[in-house]
């Protein structure tokens, strides 16, 4: 089986989620990559070095610059004439693109896979991860998105794929990129961090969140996350949200502070290796999944913890 993995990249570098998608694709067969974008020859060279990659198709065109699905999907469809499976990371860009490709190929996509059981059978979470379905695809070609936390990252060095230019299919003329407000990352990225400190609604407001959570995260070299309630209340921006519809994380250590533990939040973090919960309510559902729990007033406990570390 020949697979085509869509490479997500930013600022000239391959994003980590792509590496997990490569691992999943390698379980299906030969790994080809697609690097689409503007001025991406550097990305293509880096992608060719990913362990296990046979070939990198690179399409360089301004119309591909912002990963607009309307412009990238036709290019993928064209390449899929010679490939059997299209694989994308289940990131916001991957989730935007893959179903558009699937429909154009008349294929039912398999979203967010957790494992590859065979060439046509996969497991995936449903109902916010409260059930795991094993599904078998009857389509001749497969379209798959990959949950990053479920697969090891392929090594970013050691491969020697060939790089081949492909022509862009151009601008579909349907959509245009206007602008972005992308947060500058002062801390590790949520989806690849080893330690995450996450805050909930109990933090009271944005200022308190910042004063309590950020110093603790910095002491631990951790990324900062938040529950939906904290994001909805405006304490932190949307890109902090961990949960069913936010980011899915699985760090070594996840510290949940003032988070009660709604099933939608648990869906995003329950595969963390060790979960630590700090909450004043000893009956909070978060304690049912926590390895280590501390019942206490976070306004006292968190500063004390930060100081003692």
């Amino acid at each position: 089986m020949k697979t085509l993995v869509w490479v997500e990249h930013e600022g000239g570098a391959v994003k980590d989620a792509t590496l997990s998608a490569v691992t999943a694709a390698a379980k299906l067969g030969e790994v080809h990559l697609l690097v689409a974008g503007e001025n991406v020859s550097g990305v293509a060279d880096a992608a060719a070095k990913i362990a296990g990659v046979d070939k990198v198709h690179v399409a360089d065109d301004a119309a591909l610059g912002h990963a607009l699905a309307e412009n990238v999907a036709p290019l993928v469809v064209q390449l899929m004439a010679d490939h059997d499976a299209f694989v994308a990371p289940a990131t916001s860009n991957g989730k935007n693109l893959a179903p558009r490709v699937a429909a154009l190929l008349d294929v039912m996509q398999i979203s967010d896979i957790l494992s590859v059981e065979s060439e046509d059978t996969f497991t995936r979470p449903i109902y916010a991860g409260n059930a795991i379905a094993t599904v078998k695809s009857k389509d001749a070609k497969k379209v798959i998105t990959v949950r990053g936390t479920a697969f090891e990252k392929a090594a970013s060095e050691g491969g020697s794929g060939t790089v081949e230019a492909v022509a862009s299919t151009g601008d579909a003329g349907l959509s245009s990129f206007v602008g972005a407000e992308i947060a500058k990352l002062e801390r590790p990225e949520l989806t690849s961090a080893k330690v995450i400190v996450s805050g909930g609604r109990a933090l009271k407001d944005g200022e308190t969140f910042e004063q309590l959570i950020f110093p603790l995260a910095d002491k631990l070299g951790a990324a900062v996350g938040a529950s939906r309630a904290a994001v909805d209340a405006g304490y932190v921006p949307n890109d902090y949200q961990v949960g069913q519809t936010g980011k899915i994380v699985a760090p070594e250590v996840y510290i949940a502070i003032g988070i009660s533990g709604a099933i939608q939040h648990l869906a995003g973090m329950k595969d963390s290796k060790t979960i630590i919960a700090i909450n004043k309510d000893e009956d909070a559902p978060i304690f049912q999944v926590a390895d280590i729990g501390l019942v206490g007033d976070l306004f006292k406990v968190v500063p004390e913890l930060t100081e003692k570390l």
């Binding site: 699905a69 429909a103 996509q109 449903i126 409260n130 379905a133 939906r228 501390l294 019942v295």
Partner: protein, 249 residues
């Protein structure tokens, strides 16, 4: 401009799903069902656009069992003008739903189709993008802000790194994210009024669409369970634990 709003009847947001003992699926017998929360946001957005004068009519569509009528009545009570139920007892996958919706759009010629970014049962996150592909129209997924500007629509999207804004020519497909709006509750008079709003019932065969599934569910299982661990008495004990895990110096 007309707005089409596809809605799905799913297990209620607050219910914890249970896997059936025989591993064939999730037990939905006697479980509270509601409108998919993301679709509620879609209905709300469509109604707000109508209230602002950017839209003239809001049409809700659902594909599912007879009881999906209730979901459509909820949309009508919120303020949608009329509804279409494409009734089937079969489970319809996102690709089949997108094909049916594409047929509905051929008849309705809506300027915008607004739907939830994912349904909280199968968590697929596909239908909007697939529909856009089948119609050859642009897609604004994971929207947190929608502004209609003549025959274009500007959509601010929630992406991994923050927010991104794209401009789409209409007709366009928009999928909603959590922070687009806060859906209203239907008032009692509006619930009463909704009962007399038009609701057309069709079947997939009426549209000539083959909805036979492409994915076979081999089995459904409970995820590995986490068990509750230990409680520590104070911060010092927690610090010791963190040190022993190598997280703290």
């Amino acid at each position: 401009m007309k707005i089409l709003v596809p809605v799905k009847r799913v297990i209620d947001y607050n219910v914890k799903p249970r896997v059936k003992a025989d591993g064939t699926g999730v037990d939905l017998a006697n479980v509270k069902m509601s409108m998919n929360p993301f679709d509620e946001i879609a209905v709300e957005e469509a109604i707000r656009l109508k209230e602002k004068g950017a839209a003239t009519e809001v049409v809700a569509v659902s594909i599912g069992v007879a009881k999906a009528q209730e979901t459509l009545r909820t949309a009508l009570a919120m303020g949608a003008d009329r509804a279409i139920l494409i009734q089937t007892d079969d489970e319809v996958e996102p690709l089949g739903v997108a094909k049916l919706l594409a047929k509905v759009q051929e008849e309705e010629a809506a300027g915008l189709i607004i739907l939830g970014k994912q349904a909280i049962d199968d968590d697929s996150n596909q239908t909007g993008q697939m529909l856009a592909a089948l119609l050859g129209r642009p897609q604004g997924t994971f929207a947190s802000k929608v502004e209609v500007e003549g025959d274009a629509v500007s959509v601010t999207r929630e992406v991994d790194g923050g927010l991104e804004t794209v401009k789409l020519t209409t007709p366009a497909i928009i999928t909603t994210d959590l922070r687009l709006n806060e859906p209203r509750y239907a008032s009692l008079p509006n619930i009463m009024k909704a009962k007399s709003k038009p609701l057309a019932t069709k079947t997939p065969a009426d549209y000539g669409v083959d909805i036979s599934p492409r994915l076979e569910t081999v089995s459904v299982a409970e995820p590995a369970k986490r068990s509750a661990g230990v409680k520590v008495a104070d911060v010092d004990e927690l610090v010791t634990k963190l040190q022993s895990m190598g997280v703290a110096a």
